[in-house]
């Protein structure tokens, strides 16, 4: 039996936003049709453009930082400029790229499609959140550049109060960005609750949607803390109330509590979507339902909740009480359980599957590889006595890059390659994508494995210059950054090249059972020509019909032949 039935013949009434049955890219035309669009797919693409630019900018600063560290002493810039570079790298990557990357770009595009909805619950608010994001980008970048901010992306007081007046405007920028993610989160929550197509029960919801749901919960609950921080900073600055500044009787450690009370949950805003993509990739390319679906879904919710309780592990040597230190260490270890469950379930899913070595699957396996390293090195940092030695060294830098980049960015790239044909209607060149992958994978490890070693040997973070014994490790790391950058450029080229040279993609090029592959490629403006009725889970390969699983490449080939004959 077919999973999709079409109970209502015909389609949607035209409503001035273009023909709902037309390809969303061609339904309407012109600048206004993009700038004022309320179509979640176009908004997703606009976010994708913005976060890609942010990734490029943040990446350039990363390369400059690595280049400066290639030799001891001055290599390209002076110390103050170096401090600004790593601040810009961190702030741009965290706030402008990685937090919005998966939810706002891929989530916006696929969440409604994957639950058989026509759009998100509040399409206009969705557009509003995009423009708020743009405002946030402007505020954050202008305050960092004009204020010559060199505080690191954590803006710790009192240094941030001492060197520039930008800490308030930066927090404002981060808050405005956060407000954008609150709106997106709220939109997703309501959409998931109210707009699932008939037959998509909570236990048939794709794991990507579960991940977006968990992420949205964190966004809605954690971001308001930024507003409180902002209010306190303003109170201190304008009314002289001592809160964070010791000169006024304030407590700088309090700022760290506030900062991490938002920024630690934000870590889960970054990684849970990466895990969500990975569940989709593993299932599709193993041709098999995710092992322990329920456990994987609940582990996302578990991470969202635990994420609120562990912020203090950033403060183990900061002057927190022994009791608080003990509690935060214990809570931090709990995070290992849902993370472990995910990794175990992904691996078990591959058992007795039919593994397709496609480029997105390479990224999915790389995710398991790199995230396992990121997660296991977290054990060192949760263990108090070992953390004392390792914290604030390159070990921490390597650890969070393995989680953030080895996890989220790798999943983001895998997800982009996976969904690119659906989004654009064009298939990329798999060979180039795989070459790009190997550069990224080898480059990434070359950058960060030496950082683990120099960190455990005692190299502190955020150093413009270093002791001679660390030079070989810095050299290797910098060389790795060039390999990684090459891989990323090859991947970007592969994706962009597909737009004008790529083969026309069929409906389901990877042969997935997922719901998003049941609709046109690229989807029509209304996502589906009529409301789909779902009768099986998104990973039920044994229940899906051969037509549903057919890649459609045969027809594409046949079509190409017919055209040639014409």
């Amino acid at each position: 039996m077919a999973a999709v039935e079409f109970p209502v013949a015909g389609g949607h009434a035209a409503d001035g936003h273009g023909d709902p049955d037309a390809n969303y890219l061609q339904a309407t035309h012109g600048f206004r049709s993009w700038a004022l669009t309320v179509d979640h797919k176009r908004i997703g693409l606009m976010y994708l453009t913005m976060v890609s630019i942010a990734f490029l900018v943040g990446g350039i600063f990363a390369l400059l930082v690595r280049l400066e560290l290639f030799t001891r002493g001055k290599t390209i810039v002076d110390g103050e400029t170096y401090n600004r570079f790593f601040t810009l790298h961190g702030a741009v990557m965290v706030f402008l790229f990685i937090i919005p990357s998966v939810p706002a770009a891929l989530g916006n595009f696929f969440l409604p499609i994957m639950i058989g909805a026509r759009d998100v619950a509040f399409p206009r608010i969705n557009l509003l959140s995009f423009y708020i994001y743009l405002c946030g980008v402007c505020i954050l970048l202008s305050s960092i550049i004009m204020g010559a901010v060199d505080t690191g992306w954590t803006f710790y007081t009192p240094y941030s109060l001492q060197t520039s007046n930008s800490v308030i405007s930066m927090t404002l920028g981060v808050f405005v960005l956060g407000f954008s993610s609150i709106l997106t989160g709220l939109n997703f929550l309501v959409t998931v609750h109210t707009m699932r197509a008939p037959g998509i029960t909570w236990t048939r919801m794709p794991l990507f949607v579960w991940g977006m749901y968990a992420t949205s919960l964190i966004q809605v609950l954690a971001t308001p803390v930024l507003a409180i921080t902002l209010l306190l900073l303003a109170g201190e600055r304008f009314f002289g109330i001592g809160i964070f500044d010791p000169k006024l009787g304030g407590d700088p450690v309090l700022f760290q509590h506030f900062f991490w009370f938002y920024s630690h949950p934000a870590v889960y805003i970054m990684i849970v979507p990466g895990m969500a993509i990975n569940s989709e990739l593993i299932a599709t390319f193993s041709r098999r339902a995710i092992f322990g679906y329920f456990a994987v879904a609940m582990s996302s919710i578990g991470l969202a909740i635990l994420g609120f309780l562990v912020w203090g592990h950033h403060l183990f040597v900061a002057g927190m009480s022994e009791f608080a230190t003990m509690m935060f260490s214990a809570l931090t270890f709990l995070v290992a359980i849902p993370s472990g469950v995910k990794v175990f379930n992904w691996t078990a899913t591959m058992y007795k599957g039919s593994i397709v070595w496609a480029s997105p699957m390479l990224y999915a396996m790389a995710f398991i590889f790199l995230f396992s390293i990121g997660g296991l090195t977290g054990l060192f940092l949760g263990t108090l006595s070992v953390d004392v030695h390792l914290t604030d060294t390159y070990f921490v830098v390597a650890h969070f890059h393995y989680v953030m980049m080895g996890g989220t960015v790798i999943a983001f790239l895998g997800g982009l390659l996976y969904w690119w044909p659906k989004m654009t209607g064009r298939m990329h060149d798999e060979k180039k994508a795989k070459i790009g992958f190997w550069f990224v994978f080898v480059g990434f490890n070359t950058v960060f494995i030496p950082q683990f070693i120099m960190g455990s040997r005692g190299m502190p973070r955020r150093y413009y210059d270093y002791l001679p014994q660390f030079e070989p490790f810095h050299k290797a790391s910098t060389i790795g950054s060039w390999i990684l950058a090459t891989g990323l450029f090859i991947t970007a080229f592969t994706l962009l090249e597909a737009l004008w040279k790529g083969r026309k993609a069929p409906r389901n090029p990877w042969g997935s059972a997922g719901y998003e592959w049941m609709t046109d490629t690229p989807p029509c403006l209304a996502n589906f020509h009529s409301t789909p009725v779902i009768t099986r889970g998104p990973y039920d390969y044994h229940l899906a019909t051969p037509e549903e699983l057919s890649t459609g490449w045969d027809e594409v080939e046949a079509g190409a032949h017919t055209k040639k004959k014409d």
């Binding site: 002076d78 110390g79 103050e80 400029t81 401090n83 505080t151 710790y156 240094y159 001492q162 010791p246 407590d251 700088p252 098999r288 339902a289 092992f291 322990g292 456990a295 002057g319 022994e322 003990m326 260490s329 270890f333 359980i337 472990g340 469950v341 990794v343 691996t347 591959m350 058992y351 007795k352 599957g353 039919s354 593994i355 397709v356 396996m365 398991i368 396992s372 296991l376 054990l379 060192f380 949760g382 263990t383 108090l384 006595s385 004392v388 030695h389 914290t391 604030d392 070693i453 455990s456 040997r457 005692g458 502190p460 973070r461 955020r462 150093y463 413009y464 210059d465 002791l467 044994h542």
Partner: protein, 340 residues
Amino acid sequence: MTEPNAPATFQLPEQMSTVAGDVDWLYYFIYWLSVVLFVGIIGAMLYFAWKYRERPGHKAEPTGHNLPLEIGWTVAPIFVLVFLFHKGFQGYMDMTVPPANAMEIKVNAKQWGWEFVYPNGGSDNELHVPVHKAVKLVISSTDVLHSFFVPALRVKRDVVPGMYTSQWFEATHVGQDDIVCAEYCGGRSKDSSGNELPFAQMTGHWSMHSMLHVETPEDFTKYLVGIGDPCASYTVKGQTCPASVLVAQGRKIYEKKACIGCHTTDGSRLVGPSWKGIWSKTESTDHGSVTVDEAYVRESILTPQAKIVTGFPPTMPSFSGQISDQEIDEVIAYIKSLKD
């Protein structure tokens, strides 16, 4: 347990404190645990990826359920995690609670240097400690956050302005190691008019480096006597300290208290005015012109923002509470000596 005083391994530096052995044991325990888990997971993943690769005639089996397996890998890690938590917390308490008889050394951190004040009142910008003796550091900052980190001791403690933090250790053998700052505290690589300084004069988080010297008790006692204030011995006897001793002592303070970071003695310009020839000069300030005399120097050390010399930023921290009257006299003597 690893041997105490073990030399550096590929991953960890040399051990020089009583807690280092336990820390390293736990580090390597987690390391090998991680290696086993990682090889197991990735090995299985690669094996499955190869064995069940897509090929003609091969079909995926529908996913089944295995509740005992799922409960197993959710519950089993808890035992390991509880063990790690317990060992980690135990080790943390060992390095946090000092023995009652520990010798106290005061540590002042500032942008960008360390000052260590010993029980006899003498101070230095490097840390000397006797071997096999518990030492408790009482750490404070005059400006921003810093972090006291000695890799070989396996200890690290943030330095927080407005509060005291403390850290104790007992060195296990005679030797040396680096003291570094592990919490970002900014940097300066341009002079007050915005020109880039030569690399050697750039200072910042990265240059906040000092040395730990672990010495025999005899050497340490000699060291303590040496850093005591030579003028004190004159004062005790009711004599006046000779000018040459005062000047020499003032120069030491100039280096130890990091005045050297902002004020040169050769007339060149850094963040603050050079001390060369500044004595008895008339300077214009934001509160009218002043003559650089004893009163103005004293005021500038204790309340630096009172009168700012025109053309310089108001960035100097107050040394109130960190410098004695005797030391101010010595600094004044040194500035006087730079008159010509």
